[in-house]
Symmetry: C2
Subunit: 184 residues, 2 copies
Amino acid sequence: MDTRTLCLAVLLRGDASGYEIKKEFEDGPFSHFQLASFGAIYPALSKLAADGLVTVTEQEQDGRPDKKVYRITESGRAVLVGELHKHPHRDRYRSDFLFMLFFADCLAPQRIAELIDERRDFYRETVARMDDCDSLPTPGHAFVHGFGRAVYAAAADYLETNRDAFLETVETDPSKISTREAAE
Amino acid sequence: MDTRTLCLAVLLRGDASGYEIKKEFEDGPFSHFQLASFGAIYPALSKLAADGLVTVTEQEQDGRPDKKVYRITESGRAVLVGELHKHPHRDRYRSDFLFMLFFADCLAPQRIAELIDERRDFYRETVARMDDCDSLPTPGHAFVHGFGRAVYAAAADYLETNRDAFLETVETDPSKISTREAAE
DNA sequence: TCAGACATATATCGGAACGATACATAGGAC
DNA sequence: GTCCTATGTATCGTTCCGATATATGTCTGA
């Protein structure tokens, strides 16, 4: 999904400024499976306004900088629903964490343990935070929430279960950096 | 990880052309947690060669176009190991599939069922393919392989377990497109 | 008290990457 | 005989990320 569609999606759930839309991708339910940066959001909102898919209202605020509040229009809703009916792009997952562990023989065992523990804690905390959340207004929201929870929990469990055996194997394994030369 | 580092990583495991590196990101073990396109790989390889991190050998082939085979150098290995010791970037996951299911109240139940079934099959097939793979040369490779398998399996299980209840809820739920007006 | 960190808010810029396309050649399918 | 797939290199337009600039208020701790 491009950033314009993501902005429409946030606005479908209520009026918001660019800053608030960004927060939605930091903390909100979308944060687990979509990203958007300021550098993508602000141009996207300008384009949406130019195309009549959203309206803008400038709000003066005392103490804080002025705010531009965006609201989705009927055309905007139609475009969003249209996007929702296209064939979904394949999932894209990028993980430096797994990339590093893949080359565990280039890292010190202590560093590997750090990486794994940090990540396991992150997954556990995320699951706990998701369990605290009790407002799941739509069936779709609840289903996606449950999916994310299941996956995070499985990831944490795997790390916990296999951590020690992995570290032992790495420490025992005599092959340091695996190079082409080593194979020749 | 930027594309230059990813190319170094592939080359650490053996010499390869740009085309073969791309295939590695389509079918190889990296394909599950890193991506790279031709538009990123070819400029990256040129830059790596200019910086002396890889060497190039042009190979004529009968029947096929010429091939440029890249080989990682000692400097290249050092740079890769340096990257491996940096703090890992946070994981980035983008899923149009989850995005669409989030707005399930904008879709026909039949379409939702299609999306879920297709995705569940994909996860099941991926797990089966991973189980067939029997060459896991390094501990890191094996650990990451197991992690991926666990997560894919959990995802497939969740979809299978919750599919029917979800579809019933969606069909029963009277709220079609949830708009701001509906909340007012 | 006042420096520094943090939150709110909009916006742009350089560089990186995606996806499509171009070009070239060969083999197999229908 | 034409079309699709596979091998192979390369660029181009568009989009997007991450850092930075700018402005202002609050809160916190030496």
